[in-house]
Each structure stands twice: as structure tokens, then as C-alpha cells.
């Protein structure tokens, strides 16, 4: 009796859920749209505006080229990314514009797509297998931070105390940025790092960590932040304690807000990455692949440009 009851109730749940699924699936019921070849945009996270720009630019370009586009959010979870790949292979996508969650962990997913003859174009982040993806369009965080480090040394007059705010300690980008920076800065013994703390690429956490660092080291002259959100948080903490004039803030990403603050002289410099360029290049490649082209450069580095007070006027958006 009890099993019968459960059977019926779970059955009825399905009948409620099915129409709901159709309701939310939207365009997939639309026959006209379904005829267009579909391109998948798999992005590591949509929890960060920078990646939202990357994913949306890719999807928009794909649509402009006459394809259907769908964005998959891996939520920084390689296992979820695997599910996305399995689904998109099964449902007949013609190409993947891919922002990997992990340089090593994502290799298997790309190989799986390759085995199914679906081309994969990596954007921004590299995977440690040169053969699996059709092409990789990469932002060179390391070199970007090397030049940022060089400018840092110059602005600090080769001496003084500084703090570093790291991103997520388990993230590739965190360390490639930090290593690029230190490859230059560590050669100057008078530049002393008094604190190195993580703030998870998060503005609020960066502000709180910076507040605490300033308690222990109010005499620092500079702070290097692994992304612009943390640079903004650090600046907020400096402003609140009245140290914003004596501490130089360096960020990375090229966020609009930070570019504006560089012009106002509140933040020193940031590394400008070009998510739109990377996304559109990947979309164009997918289009060319579909039309028969097969020889793509395996790696295309997209240089990171340094934005500082002397050149900031080139980066201000004109409305």
C-alpha cells in the first residue's frame, strides 16, 4: 500500500515537472532556431563580471555569425564541466568555445570532444595539452604581471614595504600572476613584502584583509592585488584609514572602474586584458572551422597591456 502510494505521488510529480521544463527550455521548442548549427560556450564561472563579459561576447559574436549559441556555466567545478561536455556532445553542438576551469583537470573533457570530432577553442586560460584543443587564444597573465612588476619597482623607487593580495589560493591565475610579479620584484632586496594574504578575488574580503594588514603595517608604501576587484577593496580600506595617499595600489584585469580611478590618480596601474578580443577571435575560428578551414595556430597569445597614468586616456571609454 505504501509503495503504491509513493509510486503514484512520484509519478504525479513528473507530470507537474514536465510542462515546467518546456516552459523554461524556451527556444529549444522553436523549430526555426533549431535548424541553425549550435555552438557551445563553456565558461569556468559566471560569478565574476570579467567572465560574464567573456562568455557574453563569445555568445553574441557566435549569434552575429549566424549560429545558435548557448552558455554553460561550470561554476569553477571540473566535474560539472565534464557533465556539460557530455551533454553538448550528445546534443550535437558543432564547436565549443571553452574557458577551462583547470589547466590539467579540463584536458580529459577536451579530449572527449576531440574524439567526437567537435573542435574546441580555448579562451583566456590554457590547458596543459597542446594537441587536444584546435586552438588556444590566451591571455598572458604571467608576462602581464612581469611588466606590471617592472612598473611597480619603478614607482616604488626600488625600496619600501609592500603587501600582496592573492586571489583564490587554489587557482592557476592566482599563481601565474603572483609569480610573474615576483620574478621581477624579488630581485630588489630593498623592496620588502611584509604581508602576503589571500582575498579570493573578492572586493569585500580584500577590504577586510587590507584593514587588518594596515593595523600591523601602517607604514607600507604599496599593495599588489591579483585582480581589480581586490584592488578596489584594498583602496576602500586605505581610504577609510586615510592612507590612500601614501600607499600605491596595483591591480590586474582592466576593469572600467579601475581605469577611471587610474585617471583620477587613485590607483597606480592595472594589466588590461582583452576578453572581448579573445572571445570574438574564438568565435571567428569556430565559424572558419565550420566552413572547412583546418589549420589553426595552436596558440595565440593576446598581450596584456599595462594601463598607467601616462597612457590611461587611451583606455577611457568615450560615450
Amino acid at each position: 500500500m505504501i509503495t503504491l502510494h509513493t509510486y503514484y505521488s512520484s509519478n504525479s510529480t513528473i507530470w507537474i515537472l514536465l510542462p515546467l521544463l518546456f516552459l523554461f527550455s524556451g527556444t529549444s521548442c522553436d523549430n526555426k532556431e533549431a535548424e541553425k548549427p549550435r555552438v557551445a560556450v563553456v565558461v569556468s564561472t559566471l560569478n565574476n563580471p570579467w567572465f560574464v563579459v567573456l562568455a557574453q561576447s563569445a555568445a553574441n559574436k557566435v549569434k552575429a555569425l549566424g549560429y545558435e549559441a548557448k552558455i554553460f556555466d561550470s561554476q569553477n567545478n571540473t566535474a560539472l564541466e565534464t557533465d556539460h561536455f557530455e551533454n553538448l556532445i550528445a546534443s550535437g553542438y558543432i564547436a565549443v568555445l571553452f574557458n577551462p576551469t583547470d589547466a590539467d583537470g579540463s584536458i580529459a573533457n577536451v579530449l572527449q570532444a576531440k574524439a567526437a570530432d567537435i573542435p574546441v577553442f580555448c579562451m583566456d586560460r590554457e590547458i596543459n595539452n597542446a594537441e587536444a584543443p584546435t586552438s588556444q587564444i590566451l591571455s598572458d597573465s604571467y608576462s602581464g604581471c612581469v611588466s606590471l612588476g617592472t612598473y611597480f619597482v619603478q614607482e616604488m623607487n626600488k625600496s619600501g614595504k609592500y603587501a600582496e593580495l592573492l586571489g583564490l589560493v587554489g587557482d592557476n591565475n592566482t599563481w601565474s600572476r603572483s609569480r610573474g610579479f615576483h620574478s621581477v620584484v624579488d630581485d630588489y632586496p630593498n623592496l620588502q613584502m611584509v604581508a602576503q594574504q589571500n582575498a579570493d578575488f573578492d572586493r569585500n574580503k580584500a577590504m577586510e584583509v587590507m584593514e587588518s594588514i594596515l593595523q600591523a603595517h601602517p607604514d607600507i608604501n604599496g599593495v599588489f592585488c591579483g585582480n581589480d576587484a581586490m584592488a578596489l577593496g584594498a583602496y576602500q580600506a586605505l581610504l577609510a584609514s586615510g592612507l590612500d595617499d601614501s600607499v600605491k595600489v596595483f591591480g590586474f584585469d582592466g576593469a572600467e572602474e579601475v581605469v577611471a580611478m587610474i585617471q583620477e590618480g587613485k590607483i597606480e596601474a592595472t594589466g588590461m586584458q582583452f576578453p572581448v578580443v579573445m572571445a570574438e577571435t574564438a568565435a571567428n575560428f569556430a565559424d572558419q572551422y565550420f566552413k572547412g578551414k583546418r589549420d589553426f595556430p595552436k596558440k595565440i597569445p593576446v598581450a596584456v597591456e599595462m594601463v598607467k597614468s601616462s597612457n590611461v586616456s587611451h583606455y577611457i571609454k568615450q560615450d
Binding site: L46, N48, A195, Q196, R203, S212, Q215, L232
Partner: protein, 347 residues
């Protein structure tokens, strides 16, 4: 402000017979040790950090810590109420993000309804009230699914965790909402009578909910439901109503936290409040509240939040490696619960 943490419990939870005064001094000593365990832990922690760092015992750092924990205090007070009823609320971090984003969106852009050719602008107070109402409504929805459909609180609020995060993304399009005006920013960065505004807010929250839990019917009902839900139902308490109120309060308090976070940054971040529910649960547990409900105090939770705040602050002051920080925090939580378990056995 800091007094006995375990005698705050209302009559109704004292199911065991009144303790007879003990002649044994060792037993007496242990009794006090148990009573003030959170406080003792906090003093020990402060003493150790103070010895190792000259910058810990400064007025500026004190305000720093208090300001930083104000958000967690608001959330954990709500979490305490929920846990006292034997439930849990995993959605507070997402609810915080959504209410903060709603307030920020209304303050910066208002609402446009092109279909009706209508534009609604919001004053500071209007934006704040709608933000807090948003949090309370999401909380009430939690309470409704839990009581109406008997969804376990863990599952119902886990669902709300992703729903509210998704709503935040929809509302913000994944981008921060900035530029909220001087008046609003005062909530996060201002000072009043020499004390930071966020600290005032959390103090008001703590005092009012101490009153509610100890002096009102609602408070006694909350303890009664957590102590023995069937007995509470048989004695005529409207369990559904109390639970919906409790989850609404938790959502509303998360919204207050959201206001503070948003105002401090002058910007609503789409990923704000990520994993804050865990900090709140940790504060409640360290504060000696039983996860099975019916036993615990608001003041204990405040002590728990202060311990976490001091730990976060101290580990950065001492420039402890970020890898070790996570290990240390985990061990502190574990120790707190182990001590609590063994002490409740001794009682």
C-alpha cells in the same frame, strides 16, 4: 555586555530537576569552566595573539574587528533562532546578496515599467525597506515550504541558496551595481558617537533579539519547539506560525547584513555573501548552541562571532600563510564543539 552565557535559557528548557548546590569545590570549578567556556576561549585567543603581535590591542584594531564581524553577527543571530527551533538556514548568504542587490538597484536606477510608461524612483529609506522586505519574503518562503510541504530545512534552504543566487545574477546581470550615494554609504563606513555605524546596527540587533528570546512568548515558543516539537504542539503552540516567523526573521537579518556589506563597498557584488552561511553556523556552534535545537543563547552566538572575527584578524596580523589559516579555523570549530559535547555530558 558579557555576562553568564548559559543561565539565559528560559524556564521551559529546564527539563532536568534543579541542581543541588555541590560541596565539591573541584566540581564547582569545572561547573564555572563550562559556564564561561566561550569567554575563556576568547580571552585565551586574545592573550596569545596580543603576545605575538603589538598591533592587536589597539583601539583602531578593536573597531576594525567589531566592524568586520557586524555582518556575521546579524546573520548568526537569525541563524541562532533557526537552529534553536531544530532547523538550519543555508540560504542566508544568497539572500544577503539578493537583498543587497535589490536595494542597490533601486537606489541607483529605480524601476522602469515601459509597458505602463512608468518610472519609480526610490529614496534611501524606501530602498532599504524594500531590500529588507525582500529578505524577509525569501525567508518566509523557506518557512512556508518547510511547514506546508514538510521539506527538511536543510533541503528547503539549500534550494533557496541557489534560487536567491540565481535571482541575484538575473537582477544584476552578473555585474556589480555601484554608485549608491553618500547617505547610503554612511551605513557601512560612517561613525556615530565615536562608534562605527555597522557596530551600532549589530548591537541593536543583538539587544533586541536577546530581549525577544528571553522575555517574550515568541522566544519561549522557539525554545519549546526545539526542545520537543511534539510536546510544544500538544501544549497548543502554533508551530507553523512560529517557524515561518523565525525563517522570515533570519531572511530579514540576512538582508540587514546585505545592507551593511553593500554600503561598506558602495557597491553590490553579485557574488557577495558567498559561503557566509558557514561562518554563521560556525559562530552559532562555537557559541554553544546545540544543532539539535532547544539549547543556546544569542549572547553565546555573539561570542562565537567575535572568536571567529578575532581569529580572522589575528591570523592576518601575524601574516600566517593562507593555507594554514583554513586549517586553524577548522580546528577551532572542532575543538569548540568537542568541548561543548563533553561539558554537556558533565552537567
Amino acid at each position: 555586555m558579557i555576562t553568564d552565557t548559559s543561565t539565559q535559557q528560559p524556564e521551559i528548557t529546564k527539563s532536568e530537576p534543579a541542581k543541588t548546590p555541590s560541596n565539591n569545590t573541584a566540581k564547582d570549578f569545572r561547573h564555572y569552566l563550562v559556564k564561561f567556556q566561550s569567554l575563556i576561549a576568547l580571552f585565551l585567543l586574545c592573550a596569545v595573539i596580543g603576545l605575538l603581535s603589538d598591533n592587536f590591542f589597539t583601539v583602531a584594531n578593536g573597531w576594525n574587528v567589531m566592524r568586520q564581524i557586524s555582518v556575521n553577527i546579524c546573520i548568526s543571530v537569525g541563524m541562532t533562532l533557526v537552529i534553536l527551533t531544530g532547523g538550519i538556514d543555508l540560504s542566508v548568504g544568497s539572500v544577503l546578496a539578493f537583498s543587497g542587490a535589490v536595494t542597490a538597484g533601486l537606489l541607483s536606477a529605480g524601476i522602469e515599467l515601459p509597458a505602463f510608461d512608468l518610472f519609480i524612483g526610490f529614496t534611501l529609506l524606501g530602498g532599504i525597506i524594500v531590500g529588507m522586505a525582500t529578505g524577509s519574503i525569501l525567508g518566509a518562503f523557506n518557512g512556508w515550504t518547510i511547514t506546508r510541504f514538510r521539506v527538511p530545512p536543510f533541503v528547503a534552504t539549500l534550494a533557496m541558496l541557489t534560487i536567491a543566487r540565481g535571482l541575484t545574477m538575473l537582477w544584476t546581470n552578473g555585474f556589480p551595481i555601484s554608485g549608491l550615494g553618500e547617505g547610503f554609504v554612511t551605513i557601512g563606513t560612517g561613525w556615530f558617537l565615536g562608534i562605527p555605524v555597522p557596530v551600532w546596527i549589530s548591537a541593536v540587533v543583538v539587544v533586541s533579539f536577546m530581549m525577544i528570546t528571553t522575555k517574550t512568548k515568541l522566544g519561549r515558543y522557539i525554545y519549546a519547539i526545539g526542545g520537543n516539537e511534539n510536546a510544544a504542539r500538544l501544549s497548543g503552540i502554533n508551530i507553523k506560525k512560529v517557524k515561518i516567523i523565525v525563517y522570515s526573521l533570519a531572511g530579514g537579518l540576512a538582508a540587514v547584513g546585505g545592507l551593511i556589506v553593500t554600503a561598506r563597498l558602495n557597491s553590490a557584488q553579485p557574488n557577495a555573501g558567498f559561503s557566509y552561511e558557514l561562518d554563521a553556523i560556525a559562530a552559532v556552534v562555537i557559541g554553544g548552541t546545540s544543532l539539535s535545537g532547544g539549547r543556546g543563547t544569542i549572547l553565546g552566538t555573539v561570542l562565537g562571532a567575535i572568536i571567529i572575527g578575532v581569529l580572522n584578524n589575528g591570523l592576518v596580523l601575524l601574516d600566517v600563510s593562507p593555507f594554514w589559516q583554513q586549517v586553524v579555523k577548522g580546528i577551532v570549530i572542532l575543538l569548540a564543539v568537542i568541548i561543548d559535547k563533553s561539558s554537556s555530558k558533565n552537567q
